[in-house]
Amino acid sequence: MKKVKLVTTIMVMAFISLTTMSCKDAKKEHNNDEGHNTEMNHDNSDGHHDGKKKKMAMNGDTNSQTILNDYFNLKDALVVDDNAKAKELGATLATSLGKLDISKFTDAQQSELKDIIEDATEHAEHISESPIAHQREHFKVLSKDITDMVAITGTQVKLYEQFCPMYDGGSAWLSMSKDIKNPYYGSKMLNCGKVQKEIN
């Protein structure tokens, strides 16, 4: 009990000394903080974009096909319920998304693609660090992003948009094969779904 009292007293003293000492500069500090904050935000976003741009310039040869391949590998890991593998492949996909060369597209397409990539990257990153149920939640929105990407970039191989009416009120995904192998349920319900569209 005595110890607790002592610790509390010390904490209160430390706190008081801290507040009284920083009181003088409180206003200034506050202002600085605000400036600092906005500055930091800017720095962050700018740095981020610069990084992306640099990467793109350096590895301009990364195309949508690489992204599709990474996506299919990820899908296959989810089909076999492999959480660890899906994490790894989520990270791979996030990296290749950041390297996509969009320079040959029109301005409107570029801004659409940037939006898609930003969103897809976030989902891929989450997949790289989540348990499998979460991975599948993110995979749903990721699939929509990739489908929208293909609508702009086109595809070298024939794709099948498949649909499972049971998962989360109905969810689609892309596959290179007509056969249904459900990434949302894996072994639990491997064959749930149907082909709803062919994409050339």
Partner: protein
């Protein structure tokens, strides 16, 4: 020795997440949120998901302050309600989906946060209310 270290670390400055300006892009301003939901979001979410944290006194004590700084940074990177309208519709849709899932699964607000901030806890009714509202916004995007 431990005591010296404890007192010592109190003098290391941390970045405080505070701003009096609510930007026009704020979720509440853009969406005209009903008051009960507004209050709940403010109390349960905005400390880590906006540019303005309301700090209790003990959050000035290290190492609590560091722990918090990190959480806030991460929280804002995932979702910043103050910057809501800067997100594209696609990203809004993603954020809303995550908000709905995380509240449904009880992952947000974080247990380490509600442990201290009891008033940030969401009752079943409040969860349903917020989720229903977020779904409504999500549907209006599509």
């Amino acid at each position: 020795m431990l005591l010296v270290a404890f007192v010592g670390i109190q003098f290391i400055p941390t970045t405080r997440n505070q701003s009096e300006v609510v930007p026009k892009t704020d979720f509440m301003l853009v969406n005209d949120v009903p008051n009960d939901i507004k209050n709940k979001l403010q109390v349960s979410c905005y400390d880590c998901h906006s540019n303005n944290t309301i700090y209790p006194w003990y959050n000035k004590v290290q190492p609590v302050a560091w722990f918090l700084e990190d959480h806030i940074k991460e929280g804002k990177a995932e979702l910043n309600f103050n910057e809501w309208d800067d997100y594209s519709n696609r990203r809004k849709n993603s954020k809303l989906k995550s908000i709905i899932n995380q509240i449904e699964n009880g992952e947000m607000p974080l247990w380490s946060y509600t442990l201290i901030h009891k008033n940030a806890l969401l009752s079943t009714g409040e969860k349903e209310l917020i989720i229903g509202y977020m779904k409504q916004i999500k549907d209006s995007l599509n």
